[in-house]
């Protein structure tokens, strides 16, 4: 387990991923096909932060708002910044998850799952609420893993240059 390598590479991989995810989800009409054939809607929500530079010259722009168009964030991208935090909304089969994903560590902040029933009735398994909650939490983590796997597939292939070209066209659109 090379922690020094990880400290160097994690932000590189993580920021590439979140930047790609913004573009790819908008390009896909917010729709991703999962490996089980099901569909997952992925939206970027209300809060997005972009970062550029390094060391003492780090510059950040945080965009928030209920219907943020992310114009400022896009401007940041044009100036070479990359996404370093993004509030994501996952929707599947009428269920909604929200999570703020950090590009450097992949820590999952404010993870909101679909609501669960916490009141116990007679005869219920006392762990029922815990198990249901864990299933929903892990589902959200699985979605992150699946999207990340799809990213890695293209990022680690010769197709990445085509993907970057498509990205730049998208960036010029607005």
């Amino acid at each position: 387990m090379d922690l020094i390598k990880a400290a160097l590479q994690a932000p590189v991989v993580g920021q590439d991923f979140l930047t790609w995810l913004w573009f790819r989800s908008e390009k896909n009409g917010w729709n991703f096909t999962l490996k089980d054939g099901g569909e997952l809607n992925v939206f970027l929500e209300q809060r997005l932060s972009v970062r550029g530079g390094s060391g003492e010259n780090v510059e950040k722009a945080v965009v928030t708002g209920p219907h943020a168009e992310f114009t400022e964030a896009k401007l940041g991208l044009r100036n070479g910044k990359l996404v370093d935090k993004s509030l994501l909304r996952f929707e599947r089969d009428g269920n909604t998850w929200m999570v703020l994903l950090d590009a450097d560590s992949f820590s999952l902040s404010g993870l909101k799952t679909p609501k669960i029933e916490t009141r116990l009735e007679d005869g219920d398994d006392p762990d029922a609420a815990f198990l249901e909650k864990m299933m929903l939490v892990e589902q959200c983590m699985d979605y992150v893993d699946e999207l990340f796997t799809q990213f890695l597939k293209v990022r680690l292939s010769p197709d990445w240059n085509d993907e970057l070209r498509a990205f730049r066209e998208w960036l010029e659109e607005k």
């Binding site: 990880a6 994690a10 590189v12 991989v13 560590s105 815990f130």
Partner: protein
């Protein structure tokens, strides 16, 4: 922060060593062996250990067992005594004054560096005994099937404490599932060298 609350923050880990049935059977006993010890009646600066997820005042798992289907659920409790700096400053000044008073009788006026440090330690110890420790609790869930661990915080100090104490308790290593380690786990082994050398992509063009 309760795991069942509407929204929670998580750090993910993979356990590096393999999970065996024998190991899984030992875990509840190890949790109990490294459980939290109360320091309310001492002057200890801090104490930490595992407690029951359902009741953080329970280091004996009387309220509920840690095993829940294929999960092991527990909490890390961390109690810390904090003496406010201004309080410490005041009592250290008082101790210096008293020391100077006492020195007058012997005709000395200079307090050595070592003696000052000694006074500092004495004041700190005396004050700590008068302040109650502040408790904090962080839930953790171990999926024994996938051998992944979720810690309900993103605070880096707590993360480090959790990783170290996990190693001490179970003799197992936690690998943080950050983008680098997760990429190595999700991508084919033939791609690992590439992940090690990746550079930031020129998204905006050059």
């Amino acid at each position: 922060m309760g795991l069942l609350s509407t929204s929670g923050s998580f750090t993910r880990y993979a356990v590096v060593e393999e999970m065996t049935g024998q190991l899984a059977a030992q875990l509840p006993e190890l949790l109990a062996r490294y459980s939290f010890r109360d320091i309310d009646d001492t002057s200890d600066e801090r104490s930490y250990g595992w407690v029951c997820l359902e009741d953080w005042l329970d280091p004996f798992w009387r309220a509920a067992p840690p095993e829940k289907a294929h999960f092991l659920a527990f909490s890390l409790r961390l109690d810390t005594r904090r003496v406010p700096p201004a309080v410490f400053k005041k009592h250290f000044q008082l101790a210096l004054k008293a020391e100077k008073e006492a020195m007058k009788e012997t005709g000395k006026t200079f307090i050595t560096k070592d003696r000052k440090q000694e006074l500092k330690d004495q004041v700190a110890l005396k004050l700590r005994a008068r302040f109650l420790p502040i408790p904090a609790v962080f839930d953790a869930v171990w999926n024994l099937r996938s051998n992944r661990v979720y810690l309900a915080t993103t605070n880096s100090k707590v993360k480090t404490l959790f990783e170290d104490y996990f190693k001490l308790s179970f003799n197992l290593t936690l690998e943080p599932l950050d983008p680098y380690f997760l990429a190595r786990r999700l991508a084919d082994a033939s791609r690992h060298a590439m992940i090690d050398e990746l550079e930031q992509s020129p998204f905006a063009g050059r």
